[in-house]
């Protein structure tokens, strides 16, 4: 797919679309071109891995139901050599596979069928360089202010008292604005490898955190639940 000529002077991010359904490729091609991305297409996992190597795309959109190999296998193979951001497209009956794909290093997911706006939003988040700026000590999310070095959280200037674990959990989420964090990733990061399966534990802490951060009736909650998958920090929306 060629990019619109008006934008050809600026280098456009190259998106690799991996899906075996020609109809999906068809509308994604039009949509991404119109949104200002360049696209290349692959219908199989092998082709996807080859193009990821050859064309060096900026992001991969990967359907989990490929004819030749499992989507998880594609991610596993890809992650051996590359940190290429990956958004997986999953169907309702691929819940488990989706979670495994995320745990294996996929960056985010979009469930089929989806509105194009949702995919484009995820795309923008994933294309934002993860470690472009050294992690700053101050994280802002609307009226919420997190000071990492001082271990202080304030909402509109009023201090919020958090336990050390709650604070770590908040940091783990707020550091990845817009991205889904799986249960496993959060548990691993905050509680360590011995607790990666203690999802009920995590739920309790998220509940406490939400209560303490409560934004009154003024704005949307910062922590969004992805049912069965994990949580997403939505504080960045107000930036």
């Amino acid at each position: 797919m060629s990019a619109p000529s008006s934008a050809s002077s600026i280098p456009q991010p190259l998106i690799l679309i991996v899906d075996d359904e020609p109809q999906i490729q068809r509308f994604l091609g039009h949509a991404l071109s119109a949104a200002g991305y360049e696209c290349c297409l692959a219908a199989t996992g092998a082709e996807a891995l080859h193009l990821a190597e050859a064309r060096r795309p900026d992001l991969m959109i990967l359907d989990l139901g490929l004819p030749d190999m499992n989507g998880k296998a594609v991610i596993e193979r890809l992650r051996l050599t590359s940190a290429l951001p990956v958004i997986v497209l999953s169907a309702q009956d691929q819940e488990m596979e989706k979670i495994m794909a995320l745990d294996l290093g996929a960056d985010d997911f979009v469930a089929k069928p989806f509105a194009i706006g949702e995919l484009l939003a995820r795309l923008r988040v994933c294309l934002r360089p993860r470690r472009a700026n050294p992690p700053s000590d101050i994280i802002r999310a609307g009226s919420l202010l997190i000071d990492r070095s001082a271990h202080e959280v304030t909402r509109a200037g009023l201090p919020i008292r958090l336990t050390p674990k709650e604070f770590e959990l908040l940091i783990a989420l707020a550091q990845n604005p817009g991205r889904v964090m799986t249960h496993r990733q959060l548990l691993l990061q905050v509680w360590g490898p011995a607790h990666v399966d203690d999802v009920p534990y995590l739920r309790v802490f998220i509940g406490q955190l939400r209560q303490k951060l409560e934004n009154g009736a003024t704005g949307p909650a910062e922590i969004q639940t992805e049912p069965g998958v994990g949580y997403r920090w939505m504080g960045a929306r107000n930036e």
């Binding site: 619109p4 359904e21 109809q23 999906i24 068809r26 509308f27 994604l28 039009h30 949509a31 071109s33 119109a34 949104a35 200002g36 139901g65 169907a91 309702q92 009956d93 089929k112 069928p113 989806f114 509105a115 194009i116 706006g117 995919l119 484009l120």
Partner: protein, 512 residues
Amino acid sequence: MKHADPPMDEPQLRTASLGWMTAPRAGGLLSAALWLALAAGAAILTHHTLSETARLMLFLLAVLVSAVRYGFWVGVISAAASVLLFNFIFVEPHFSFDIARPESLVTLLVFMLVAGLIGLLAGRLRGQRDDAEERATLLATISEVSRDIASAPTPEAVLNAALTHMTSLTRSPGMVLKDDGHGAQLLLSRPEDRVPGADDLQAAQQALRRGGVEFATAPGWDGSRFTFFPIRAEGAGNYVIGHERIGAPQMDLDYREQAITVIVRQSELALQRLAFAASANDERRKAETESLKATLLSSLSHDLRTPLATILGSVTTLRELGPSLPAPARSDLLMAIEEEAQRLNRYVANLLHMTRLQSGLGAQMSWLDAGDVARAAMLRATRAFPQARIQGDLPEMPMIRGEAALLEQALFNLMENAAKYAPGPITLSGRREGGELVFAVSDTGPGLPENVRMWLNSDRLAAGPELSGLGLPICKGIVRALGGRLSAQTQQPHGAQIALHLPVPSDAMPRG
């Protein structure tokens, strides 16, 4: 002795053999007497020519013959009689039972001992031979019964075989009754016009209730003339099999009773086996339905997902990015939406048919012109797949019984399948072959994978994981509902042919 003496009012058990000590019969005794008379006659005739010892041998011979032919008791009685006779005729004083000389006493005692021993041994041998014969007959009968009953395909056949063998054993009328929950109902009888009386029904019910043998009453007493044995097969219902009192000539045949016990046991086992087989069959059918559902569900989610994703994605793209889309892209997206909406419509039609068939409503059969239906299906396929080259070879065809919408869907699904996999021309042909109307969809594509071909030719409704998509499973379900079948073959040099066979009613007239 094999078992204790039975009570007098249970005449069947009186057939019990006493082993080798079978009670003497009048005929046997008479013959023995004749033999003895013969020996006595010969001894008298040879009074002057033969010595006393030799004449004694003649009596021993008579005892031996009687014992061998008529058993132990006859032998012993005949031995005693010959001693008396010999004493009476040949021992001094003649024609008296007195004994004058001491030698004669010794001779008589030895004779008595020898005759008794001969009677005992010969009778015992005879008894053993009889036992062996009985056992052989019993074994032969049992093996025949086992074979017949075990190979019976239905409960009725089991009971029929059991009754046949029992009546041939007892040589008397027999019947089988079924416990229908309220009481015993006649199921089979030999001879066939034999109907149980009130006494018989009561006895049969008694046997069912008590779960034990209900013996016939003795001759001359009130009550059932039948002996009833309960047949209790778990899961297959309760039955009772009975035979009329065995006639007097067979009273000594012990093996009958054993064989009847075996027949009853074998019938119970066979009925249980059939019940298990039936329930296993039910389970298998249930599992097949379940696996069909699972197959359809997974095909469904696969088939519905893509059109929905395309439509939603395209519509939101048009809405959100419309202004920045070039005109050809916009129209391409609109076309994609239309195509996918039509695809969804086809799936929904398929689904509706499938739901109807699955809910067990079946097809609504009416007379229809199969040629018209085939042409309609072809038209629909040509519209749905404009790139496919579909040709028809549809001469005049007989009217059949079926449902037009279902038949059209089945034919459409076959053409859709061909259009999906084969780029070349697709032919829909129809012809009559004997009592069948055969529609065949042929293509020149890569042919069918072997497992798909085998599935199409099989009875199985549920396809394996090798088949994605709803088209062929639904086609198969429809054809089955219409009373037909599918067949598939690979064509030379390449291509696939899937044929749909439908029965032509015998009174169908070619339309003209």
